[in-house]
Symmetry: D2
Subunit: 431 residues, 4 copies
Amino acid sequence: MKVYTLGGYEEVGRNMTALEFKGKVLILDMGVRIDRVMIGEDTNIQAMPIKELDRLGAIPDVTPLKGKKIVGVVVSHGHLDHIGAVSRMARKYKCPVVGRPYPLKLIASMMKEERKKFENPLFELHDSSITLGPFEIEMMPVTHSIPQSSFIIVHTPEGDVLFTGDYKLDEHQILQKPLSFPKLKKLDIRLLIIDSTNVMNEGITPSERVARTMISDYMHMIEDSNAGIVTTTFSSQVERISAIIREAENIGRKPVLIGNSLCKYYGLALEAGIVDTKVQMVRRRDAAMATLKEINANKEKYMILTTGSQGEPEAMLARMTDRKTPFFFEKDDNVVFSASIIPNPLNKASRYKLETKLKMQGANLVKNLHVSGHASREEHRKIIKTLSPEYVLPCHGFPDMLISMAELCNEEGYDVGKHVIVKRNGQSFDI
Amino acid sequence: MKVYTLGGYEEVGRNMTALEFKGKVLILDMGVRIDRVMIGEDTNIQAMPIKELDRLGAIPDVTPLKGKKIVGVVVSHGHLDHIGAVSRMARKYKCPVVGRPYPLKLIASMMKEERKKFENPLFELHDSSITLGPFEIEMMPVTHSIPQSSFIIVHTPEGDVLFTGDYKLDEHQILQKPLSFPKLKKLDIRLLIIDSTNVMNEGITPSERVARTMISDYMHMIEDSNAGIVTTTFSSQVERISAIIREAENIGRKPVLIGNSLCKYYGLALEAGIVDTKVQMVRRRDAAMATLKEINANKEKYMILTTGSQGEPEAMLARMTDRKTPFFFEKDDNVVFSASIIPNPLNKASRYKLETKLKMQGANLVKNLHVSGHASREEHRKIIKTLSPEYVLPCHGFPDMLISMAELCNEEGYDVGKHVIVKRNGQSFDI
Amino acid sequence: MKVYTLGGYEEVGRNMTALEFKGKVLILDMGVRIDRVMIGEDTNIQAMPIKELDRLGAIPDVTPLKGKKIVGVVVSHGHLDHIGAVSRMARKYKCPVVGRPYPLKLIASMMKEERKKFENPLFELHDSSITLGPFEIEMMPVTHSIPQSSFIIVHTPEGDVLFTGDYKLDEHQILQKPLSFPKLKKLDIRLLIIDSTNVMNEGITPSERVARTMISDYMHMIEDSNAGIVTTTFSSQVERISAIIREAENIGRKPVLIGNSLCKYYGLALEAGIVDTKVQMVRRRDAAMATLKEINANKEKYMILTTGSQGEPEAMLARMTDRKTPFFFEKDDNVVFSASIIPNPLNKASRYKLETKLKMQGANLVKNLHVSGHASREEHRKIIKTLSPEYVLPCHGFPDMLISMAELCNEEGYDVGKHVIVKRNGQSFDI
Amino acid sequence: MKVYTLGGYEEVGRNMTALEFKGKVLILDMGVRIDRVMIGEDTNIQAMPIKELDRLGAIPDVTPLKGKKIVGVVVSHGHLDHIGAVSRMARKYKCPVVGRPYPLKLIASMMKEERKKFENPLFELHDSSITLGPFEIEMMPVTHSIPQSSFIIVHTPEGDVLFTGDYKLDEHQILQKPLSFPKLKKLDIRLLIIDSTNVMNEGITPSERVARTMISDYMHMIEDSNAGIVTTTFSSQVERISAIIREAENIGRKPVLIGNSLCKYYGLALEAGIVDTKVQMVRRRDAAMATLKEINANKEKYMILTTGSQGEPEAMLARMTDRKTPFFFEKDDNVVFSASIIPNPLNKASRYKLETKLKMQGANLVKNLHVSGHASREEHRKIIKTLSPEYVLPCHGFPDMLISMAELCNEEGYDVGKHVIVKRNGQSFDI
C-alpha cells in the first residue's frame, strides 16, 4: 500500500491524503487553505479559477496522482479545510464522494453554487459501510466542532487505516455522543493518520460544556439590561449556535440568526434532523435590513446571532458596525464573541478594526467565550494508547506540529522515521 | 476624609490603603509582595527582619502614617498580598485586626509562627458590624479564590467607602454564595476602591464550574489507568481542593493532601466549618515520607494533592520530582496542574525546571485546569454601574492596570483626574 | 502659565500641547493619528472632513482652547503625527506657523493639496528667534529620523519651556550634527516636555551608522548578482534614502526613486539644500510604468527605492508585487526593508500579505536593516540630568510610556505628582 | 559513506556528527547541552559523572557508534556546545583531536581540569591538512563569535564534505578575516552539513562593527561621568572583549578583566597570539576582592569587564550585585550588557533577579549592545548558492530550525527528503 501526503502536511488547511492499492486510489478529505485566498484581492473561493487557487497554494497539488484510477473521495467532516476543494477538484475524477449526511449536504450545496454539472454520486454513510475498489470504508462518529464529524476507517487487503480527521474527546456535547472507546478497542489498526493541529497544547481541550457555562453566565449577568445583545460564532458551530439560542430563550429574548452562511449551516442541520429548534433565520441582505430595523427599535426583545466572528469586512457584524444597516450600536450594547481569532495577521487586523469601531460606539465586548474543537496532547495520547497502531502518520499541521505529534508517539514507544512517518506535501511512502 | 494609597498602587502585591478622619486612621489590608522576596537568597518572609523586607519593597512603606492614631486594620480576605504584613507590622499599632473568621485564623497562625507577643485583638465579623473610632465597618461576602472573601464597607461621617479587595462574580461556587446584588443596590457609596488586577481582560472570568468540569473530564479520561495521579493547586484555593477531593472519590481513589501549607489552609477551613469532608492530611516531612512510600507501592489506589504548583524548589512536588522522596515518577503517571503560573520570570523558570524533569521521567503533564479568581472588565463594569459611586480609586495593580480601570470608569461617564483618582504608593488625597 | 495636554497623551500620534499666558496661547505641534484613519474604508486624510477625523480620534480635540487667543503654532519636525493636522486645523486660528524650513515646506505642500486659501503666515526659523505674544521661540537642532528636527525652546515671563519633539542622540548622522550639549547646559528650564515613545527600551538607540553598515554589508554580499534589488524605507527618512543611494552607486547600480511621497520628501530636501545628490525620481504613476518596464529589462543595472515599507496596498511596492506594473519579481530578486513595522495589527497584516506574495514569487527578503529614530531610556536620562528642569511633563505615548518616563524622572529625584506631571488628552495644569 | 546525526539535531547544543567509511569513523564536534545541566542542583559539568550527563541529555548519545573504529575528532571552534564533551568522552576512543590552535588550547585546559590522563594527541591545524584513516581534513577559517572558528572540509573517497560549524559572514571583524569566497567557489562538495540556529531570521546578521559602534557611542555618551562602569559579555567573545578594552582606553579609563572564565579565554587568546593587548586580569576570587576594593574607591578611573552576562548567580557580576564583594553599586553606576539573553526560562529568571537588584541599587542598565554570531537566512543562501552541494544536512537546531533550513534549500531547488536530509539525534543515513 502506498500513502500520498498531498495537503495539510505543511500547514493547517487544504487537507488531502490518498491511499493506493494496486493502482486504485482512495482520497481522504479534499480541503482548501483559506488564508492563502485571503492574501489576494478577490477572496471568493467559489469564483476563482482552479489555476489561480493552485498558484496561491490554496488547494492541494494532485500531480502525484496523475494517471491513477481514483475510486472515491471520503470526507471526515464538513469544514472547508477538509471538503472545500471537493466541488472544485472532484469533477474530473467522476468518482463517488462518501461521507456522513451533513458534510455531504454541504458539498451538494457548494456544487449547486458552482452551477456546473457533476457526475460524482454522493453516498451517505450511517452505520453501514461501503466498498470502493479494494477499500471498505466505515465511519466512526466523533466529537469535533461541526455536526457529524467522523473517524474514517478504511479496511484494505494490507491492513486497516484509521484517519481521524479533526476531533476532540468531549463528554458533554448535546448533538454528538462521545467517541465509543469499546468499539475503538476492538480495532486492529495498521496505520493511524492523526490530526496534529493542537498537539502542542499540553493537557486536554475543554469541553463544550465550558463554553456553555461561560455564555450562560454572561447572559445571566446582563439579564436585566435592555441593551442590545449581538453574538457571533463560527457558522458551522451548530452545537454552539444551539446553546446560544437556548440562552436567548432563558433570558426571555427572541433569538434571530442573521447572515447567509450561518443560516445555511443551521438550516442544513435542521434539514438533516441534527437540531430541531426552529428559529428565525434571515439569510438575504434585503430581509436582514428589515429585521435589523425592527430589532433596533426593540433591542431588549431580541438576541442577534450573526456572522463575522473574525471581523470579516463583508460579514454582517462588520456591516452593522460600519453603520451600513439600520441596527446602530449604542452605549452598553453587548457584543459577545463565542469564537477565537484564527491566528493569522489578516484576521487579527480585521478583528482589531472591528473591535476598535465597536468600542468607539460604546459597545461592551466579551471575548473568548469559546473552546477549541481540536484535541490536545493527552487526548491524542489516549487515542494512540488505545489503538496501538503499527504506523502513525501525523497530518494536518505546520511542520512543528507534525514533529510534536511524532515526539508524542516517540514518548509512547514509536521509532520516529521507522514507525512514525513525517512527510511534506507532495510526497508518498509505502507500508 | 483623607485617603492614603500605601501599597499595591504600583504592583500586584503588598496591598495597603488607609482612611483618615480627624486624625484617626483605619487601615484596609496589609499585604506583602512575594516576588520581591523571591529575588533574594533567603526567601522565608516570616524569618526576614522588617528592615530587609522594607529595603526589598516587599512590604508597604508606612511613613505617611507616622504619628497618626491607628484605630484598626480590616482585612478583605486571606491571601498573603492582603494579610501577609499584618503579623509583621500591626504590632506597633496595638489596634484591633478585623475580618471574617477564615482570614483571621490565618493571621493568628502567622502570629503564632512569629513566637512574639501580640497585643492586637482579633475581631471576627459575621453579619454584625463594628465601630472603630469614626468608622463603622461591615463585611459583604463575595466570591474569589479563597474562602470568606469580602467587600469591606466603611461608613464614615463623610460618606461610605466600599473596598472590594479581590473578587470575581461567580454564580457556581460551592463554598460561597454569589454576591448579593439586591444588597449592593441599596448602598450609597461615596468612594469605591476597586481591584484592578484583571481589568485588562475583556469579557468575564470563567466560573469555578469551568475548572471543575475540566478536572472531572480529565479524571474520567484516565479513570481506567493504574498509574499515579498527582495534582497541585494553590494551597489557599480550598474550593478547588474540595473539588479535587470529590473527583478522587468519583474515580475510586483515596485523596491524600501532602504538604505543610496545603494542610494548613484546608485544616483551618475544616476548623472554621467551611468544608466538612475529612481527608488524610500529611503535614510534616517525615510523615510524608512514610505516606509516599505506601502510595508509591499502590499508585492506583491514591490521588495525591500536593504543594508546588509554581515549581517552588522546596515544595513537595519539586522534591518528589527530584527523587528526594520514596515516590518515584514513572512512565504514564499523571501530573495535573490546577493552577496558572503567576507571571514572573522566577516562577516560569521554576516551572520549566520542574516540567522538564517530569517529562524526562515519563510523566504526562496536564496544565491549566484552572480559572482565575479576579474579575474581568465586564464584571467590574457591572459593579460600577450598580454602585454608581461618586469617586473611584483603582487599586491593586501595575500602573497600566490602574489606568485601564480609570478608562473603564471613563467609559461609564467618570472624569479621570476629578472623580477617578489614579495614585502611586506613598501618596494621599482628600475627598 | 497654564499647560494644555491636547494630543499624544494617550497614544503615539496626534501630538498637540499648548501653553497659555494671560489668555494668549501658543500651540506646540499639531499632528494626526494615522492608525485611527486606517480602520476606516477611506484612508485619505487630506480628503476626510474634519468632523470625521474628530469622530475617529484622528486629530486632537481642541475644545479646551475655545475662546482663547492663539498667537502661533510651532512645529518641532515634519512627521505627520506632529504636523499632519496643521493644514486641517490651523486655518481657523489665522495665526503664524513657525518651524525650521523643511517641516514648513511639508506643511506648505499639504496646504497646496487642500486647494483652500490659508491666511496663516509660515515663518522659517534658523538661528534666529521669534516672538509671538508673550512667547519668544528658538529652535535647537537635534537628530531624529527626518531632516531638521528640533527641540523647541519657549521663553515665557514665567520661565523657559523646552519641548523636545521626537529625537534621539546620534553622533553619526550625515545630514544633521549631534545635539549641542554645551548649549543645552546653559539653559535654565522650568518645564521640560519630553517624548516618551521609546523610554521603555533600556539602553540606547543605535545610531544611523548602524543602519548604514547593515545596508552596505548586504549590498556588498549580493554585489555579484544580476538580479533585481528593490529597497524600501519610510519616505521621510531622507538620511537613510541618501545612504541607500550611495550604496547603489558603490555597487555600480543606478538608484531610482519611485513613488509619490518618496519623491516629495526627497525633492523638498533637495530644494531646501539638505541633500545635494540628484537622482532619478519618478513620481507619477504613468511615468513609473515606463521606468519599471525599462528596469525590468535590465534589472542588473538599477536599484529601485520605492514606497510601501508597511505593505500599504496602494503603495508602489505592493502594486509591483501584485503584478500591476511591468516590473515582475523573479527568483532571486532582492527586497530590502530598511524600516520596522509600525506595531499595529493593520500594518502587520499588510506586510504579511506583501511578504507572502513576494516569497511565492521567489524574492529574497531582507528585513530590519533599520534603527529607530526615538531615544531610549539612557538618552532621556542624559537629557534630564543635563537640563535638570524644575518640572517634567512626559508626552507622546500610551499611558504606560508616560508612566515609564515618570518613573525615570523619579529615579532622578523627581516627585511624581508634584514635579512630574502625567496627564491625559484634554486636560490642563498650572505651573 | 554513512553519516551519523548524534547530537544537535533536536536542540541547540551538544553538537555531534560522524562520518563512516568502511568501518572507520570521523567525529565532527562533540559538545554539551548546557541548559540540560542547568535544571539540576549541581551545575558543574566538569564534576558530573558521564552517566548523569547522559541521563540529563546533556551529552550526545554515542550508542550508534558502538564497536566502530574512531579515527579522530575534529572540532570546528571552541564553544562548549561543540567541544564541551571532548574532555569527557574522547578518552575512550584514544584517537587524535584535531582543530585550530585556539579550540585545542581550550580542550587542553579542560582536560587539565579533569586531572585524569588523556591519551588523545591534540593536532593543531593551520594551513596544512591532516589524514586520519580514509579522511583528509582541512580547516577553512570563518567569522563567528569566538576566535579561530572554521568550516571543516573532509575529503573522502566518496566525495567531499563541508561541515560549517557555527558561522556568520562578517566583513568587519578585527581578529578574523572574512570567509574566502574565491576558495569556496573552487570546492566540489558532495555533502554540506550546515548550522541552522538562526536560519529563521529573515535577512542578515549585523556585523561586529555594529556592536562596536553601539558600545563606543554609549561610552562616549557617559564619558564625563565619574560613576562606575561595569561591562559584561560572553567570556569567549574575545573580539568583543578587545573592543571594550579599546573603548575603555578611548575614554581614559583603565580596563580590568575580572572573573575566572573571562581571564581564561582572553589569556589563552593572548598566548595563541590572537590578541596582543595586555590588560589587567584578575582571575582568583581573593585577588578580585582586593582589586574591587581599589576600584570601588576610584570608580572614575576604571572600567570593569566581568563575567555573568546571563545573571549566573555564581558569576562575578551577580556577586557584586549581592554585595558580596567590596565593590558597591551606587546611583548612576553604569552596567553595560554586551550580550543577549540565551533564550531559556532559567537565564531569563537569573537576569531578572540581577537586573531588579541592580535597579534597586540605582544603577543605569544598558542592554543589548550586542550582535549575534550566527548567520541569518540570506547568508546561508549565499553559502548554499556558492557551494551548490549535492546533498544538504541541516544541523544544530530544534526541529523547526532544521525544517526551516530544509525549506531554504527547497527554495534553492533541492528536493526535501532526497537531497536535503532532516534527521533526529541517534539516526544515520547513507549517501
